[in-house]
């Protein structure tokens, strides 16, 4: 080591030598495009998504309507573009809340252990017993349909999934020597938890959030499909799958099909990204 350290050559940042990761690049691009669509929907959409034209219902693709129209004669492309907004906002809120709550609970129970850990872990076990959808339906039954009730309910049911994974990693980190060294250095518990443990569980957190995002989107779309979430005529993919159903038998499957396709593309992008990040994470620096 002593001989190695003599010529103090600057090591090039490892990132610059890494070959481009096509999975991350392509899924990242898809997600970025979806976000851009959501933000710039009014600029991108060729038509008003709520403008109905009874004279042009269930049309196929044409110059006026690139993806055709639905059973009310509304422009499908515009509805899909506007639909990105609510379809992404819901899962994003769910994951944001579940990650925040889950991480705080996970790190606290990893740090303090004892009764706090036991109470949190048992509560998580109890929540595991209820499927997220049932929970969401219950919330809708109590507070009425819309975006808020299913989002809150699904946030609660997603929290234990994130909590459990992060708790395991935080517990591992907590028992590593560097934490003992911090402790002996007189650092406060808050500093150790936020600046050391949280920073070390961050990669896992990102992976879990990305993976859960796909599931949350499917769950929320299912809630909307069942008519318990946002209500028609609001453009939202789950709602569109549902409202397009009646036209399928009439030979016009485009509304359900296209909305379903958007859901699939989004979920697959998030899952592939999460999987790839997870497998890459195994190779990252670990003490």
């Amino acid at each position: 080591m002593a001989t190695l350290e003599a010529p103090l050559v600057a090591t090039p940042a490892p990132r610059s030598r890494r070959r481009p990761d096509w999975v991350v690049l392509s899924t990242g691009t898809v997600i970025a495009l979806l976000v851009l669509m959501a933000v710039f929907a009014p600029l991108l959409a060729p038509d008003n998504p709520d403008y109905a034209n009874i004279l042009a219902t269930n049309q196929g693709p044409s110059a006026a309507h690139l993806l055709g129209t639905d059973s009310f004669g509304r422009d499908l492309l515009s509805r899909l573009i506007y639909g990105v907004r609510l379809s992404l906002l819901g899962p994003a809120l769910i994951i944001l809340i579940a990650t925040l709550v889950g991480t705080v609970l996970a790190i606290l129970s990893a740090w303090y252990g004892g009764w706090f850990d036991r109470v949190v872990s048992r509560a998580a076990d109890i929540l595991f017993a209820f499927p997220g959808l049932i929970f969401a339906m219950l919330a809708v039954a109590m507070f009425g349909p819309g975006l808020v009730a299913p989002v809150v309910a699904l946030s609660i049911s997603y929290t234990p999934y994130l909590m459990r994974v992060i708790r395991a990693e935080a517990l591992r980190q907590r028992n590593l020597p560097y934490v003992a060294a911090c402790y002996v250095g007189g650092l406060s518990v808050r500093t150790i938890c936020t600046r050391h443990i949280l920073r070390n569980v961050m990669p896992l957190l990102v992976v879990q959030a990305a993976l859960s995002f796909g599931y949350a989107l499917v769950d929320l779309a299912a809630v909307s499909y069942l008519g318990l979430g946002v209500q028609p005529p609001t453009p939202e993919w789950g709602v569109m799958v549902s409202t397009g159903q009646s036209a399928i038998l009439a030979g016009h499957p485009q509304e359900s099909l296209l909305a379903g396709l958007m859901i699939v593309i989004t979920v697959v992008a998030f899952n592939l990204l999460g999987d790839r990040l997870a497998s890459r994470q195994k190779g990252t620096v670990r003490p």
């Binding site: 001989t3 103090l8 090591t11 060294a181 007189g186 620096v285």
Partner: protein
């Protein structure tokens, strides 16, 4: 007043539900600016003793006896006092720098953290840290602050850890095998730095190691641990010349001799006892060539003899008999 006083320290750790004794009886004091080497085999309780000083023991550990820092009982400290003790008075250098430094934070974050936590201004803390880094022989300290632990070699990282310990200007430095994870040439560099800083600042140091020679070279006094007992405590220069305890004599005889190599390395017969296996008598008695009946029945107290202290019933009788040779008929 002594910087550190350890009186009849005993530690029990929970193992499979029951408390197991890992440290039986350690009495030790360190004066201002004094370096004491704590030596012993693996499992003798060296690290446990040093960790007890800073109250870094596994949950559920039972500590008996008394540890005093400048007269204040460390074991009785409340949370705030303990934090003050850890942030201002004592610092620890660990064995494996790579495991004891958070890998995802920069060297700068690591070094500044303790100072910022004490409420020092960032600019002052930064200047202090850069000065300490330069003092421990780290080149280009400003650039190092931006680097991550994996970009530094083991020796360099250990210097960073020593810098972190010195940056808080402690009065007591606990060094838990600071050179074990390093290769030999780096080892000596690190020891020279540690020793120089200690003399410069009048640091009291507890140096835990299993390297008797290294301890004798840098410490004022050597304390020898065996199976959780402090068996001997002697001035470093005196240890070789004036053999008092059969275990220490055996340890010294077991070193390879670079001048006149023996065909076979001498060894103390038997295997080292774990602290919890010790019977009623002297812990070393089963392996001791000089043990008599009393040694197996009665535990020897640590008592003052010449310039040091020794825990052996026959220390006076054996004076002069113990030689730097393998115990008679000992080696296989």
């Amino acid at each position: 007043m002594n910087v550190l006083e350890i009186n009849h320290l005993a530690v029990e750790l929970p193992v499979e539900g029951a408390l197991r004794r890992v440290l039986h009886d350690v009495t030790l004091s360190i004066g201002p600016g004094e370096a004491v080497g704590l030596v012993g085999e693996s499992g003798a309780g060296k690290s446990m003793a040093s960790r007890a000083v800073i109250r870094l023991l596994p949950a559920g550990a039972a500590v008996h006896g008394d540890i005093r820092y400048s007269g204040d009982s460390v074991l009785a400290m409340d949370r705030a006092a303990l934090r003050h003790f850890r942030t201002h008075d004592v610092a620890m250098v660990f064995q494996d720098p790579r495991a004891h430094i958070n890998p995802v934070r920069t060297i700068g974050d690591f070094l500044l953290e303790a100072l910022l936590e004490r409420g020092e201004r960032r600019d002052d803390a930064r200047a202090a840290v850069i000065a300490v880094l330069a003092a421990v022989g780290v080149s280009e300290p400003e650039r190092r602050l931006r680097q991550f632990p994996h970009e530094l070699s083991g020796g360099l990282l250990q210097r960073v850890m020593i810098a972190a310990a010195l940056a808080v200007s402690p009065t007591l430095l606990l060094a838990d095998e600071p050179t074990t994870a390093l290769d030999v040439t780096t080892q000596s560099d690190v020891m020279v730095i540690l020793d120089a800083r200690r003399r410069e600042r009048g640091l009291a140091m507890l140096f835990v190691t299993h390297d008797l020679e290294l301890a004798a070279a840098v410490c004022d006094r050597i304390a020898v641990l065996y199976a959780g007992f402090l068996v001997e405590d002697a001035p470093a220069g005196d240890l070789h010349r004036n053999l008092r305890h059969p275990y220490t004599a055996g340890l010294l005889a077991s070193r390879p001799d670079p001048v006149a190599p023996r065909p076979r390395l001498a060894a103390i017969p038997g295997r080292p006892l774990s602290a919890f296996e010790v019977g009623a008598g002297c812990a070393f008695a089963p392996r001791c060539a000089f043990a008599v009946e009393r040694c197996h029945l009665e535990r020897p107290e640590l008592r003052v003899l010449d310039a040091g202290r020794v825990a052996c019933h026959r220390a006076e009788e054996l004076a002069g008999q113990l030689a730097l040779s393998p115990t008679p008929g000992g080696s296989e």
